[in-house]
């Protein structure tokens, strides 16, 4: 797989990001509950075939950078009653992220 078949990563660990609040139909690996939420890049995981394409037997190229993004629970769930520092980490593809 040539490197050119991967999209260049735009974010680095510690960057603040927002998940796009988009609702396309199809096979999407970005959970509903995290769309529109703000978090911080925990790490870049590498580049992976786009599942929204792979699910329909298409090649899924170029590969998309995949990140682990960390969110504060109380920002994701306004009624969260655990500790204020509790977090949820979610894997999100770059094309679902904007600067936040």
């Amino acid at each position: 797989m040539a490197a050119a078949e991967s999209v260049t990563p735009q974010f680095r660990t510690g960057d603040r990001v927002a998940v796009r609040a988009a609702y396309p139909i199809g096979h999407v690996r970005t959970p509903y509950y995290i769309r529109g939420k703000r978090g911080v890049i925990e790490r870049l995981c590498g580049a992976y075939g786009n599942p929204e394409e792979l699910a329909y037997a298409r090649p899924g190229l170029p590969k998309q950078p995949l990140y682990r993004v960390r969110f504060l629970q109380r920002e994701v769930w306004p009624a969260y009653d655990g500790s204020p520092g509790d977090t949820v980490d979610v894997e999100i593809f770059q094309h679902w992220l904007e600067r936040g």
Binding site: R29, T30, P31, Y33, I34, C45, G46, Y48, P51, L66, R68, R70, Q73, V76, W77, Y80, G82, S83, G85, D86, T87, V88, D89, V90, E91, I92, F93
Partner: protein, 220 residues
């Protein structure tokens, strides 16, 4: 097994309906063919018919998966507890750490998250049931249930309490949602009172649930 009990009647005489029969017959098909199972059978039979797979290969794969147990993961955890260099490798490159122990690297990237005095990690796949099967075997049924998947994500402390795992308020709870190409393993805290223990003895304290994060490693 229709006849797993003792009683006198003549099994050689199957057509003799005059014989008194004191138990209701069990159906020959004691299984339900759902739409998905029918599809699996159809695809499998086609693959075999076309010579892409053999029935023996399919059987071997099923057997291989059934033979995998959480002991593989527990072995890695016990090594990390006793060898600081290995712990570093496990946390930085989980797949390489599997290989070092002679285990499969695994088909997915392994992210290992460490429980400490400050942080407790718990794993879920809210979208389906992603799980490091090559290290832990098949996931438990509750891991795949809608109840666990929908509740541990937004009330992890309550769900952990239901598992008998109370996390003090000063400890941060981190839920990891396995949504794409990573698979996760929790490195539980080593229980106190296990100083000088062998890796084998330590591994026996590491349960499947402690590596998902819904339990602690067992105390000695």
């Amino acid at each position: 097994m229709p006849h797993d009990h003792d009683h006198p009647h003549d099994h050689g005489n199957l057509h003799d309906h005059a014989q008194p029969h004191r138990h209701p017959p069990r159906p020959d098909q004691d299984d339900t063919i759902t739409q998905w199972r029918a599809m699996e059978i159809a695809v499998r039979e086609l693959l075999i018919e076309k010579g892409i797979l053999s029935a023996e290969e399919v059987r071997r794969q099923v057997e291989d998966m059934d033979n995998r147990t959480p002991l593989l993961g527990a072995t890695a955890v016990a090594r990390a507890w006793t060898d600081p260099e290995y712990r570093k490798l496990l946390l930085s490159d989980g797949n390489a750490a599997c290989e070092v122990l002679g285990m499969e690297r695994g088909p997915y990237k392994l992210v290992v998250v460490e429980n400490t005095d400050q942080v407790h990690n718990v794993i879920v796949c809210t979208l389906c049931s992603c799980y490091p099967r090559w290290l832990l075997g098949l996931p438990p049924d509750w891991y795949k249930s809608r109840n666990y998947r929908s509740r541990v994500i937004n009330q992890p402390r309550d769900v952990l309490r239901e598992f008998g795992t109370a996390i003090p308020g000063h400890v941060t709870v981190r839920v990891h949602d396995s949504t794409a190409d990573m698979r996760y393993l929790v490195l539980p805290k080593r229980p106190a009172g296990t100083e000088g223990w062998s890796e084998e003895k330590l591994a026996a304290l590491v349960s499947r649930d402690s590596m998902i994060g819904v339990a602690f490693a067992q105390n000695p």
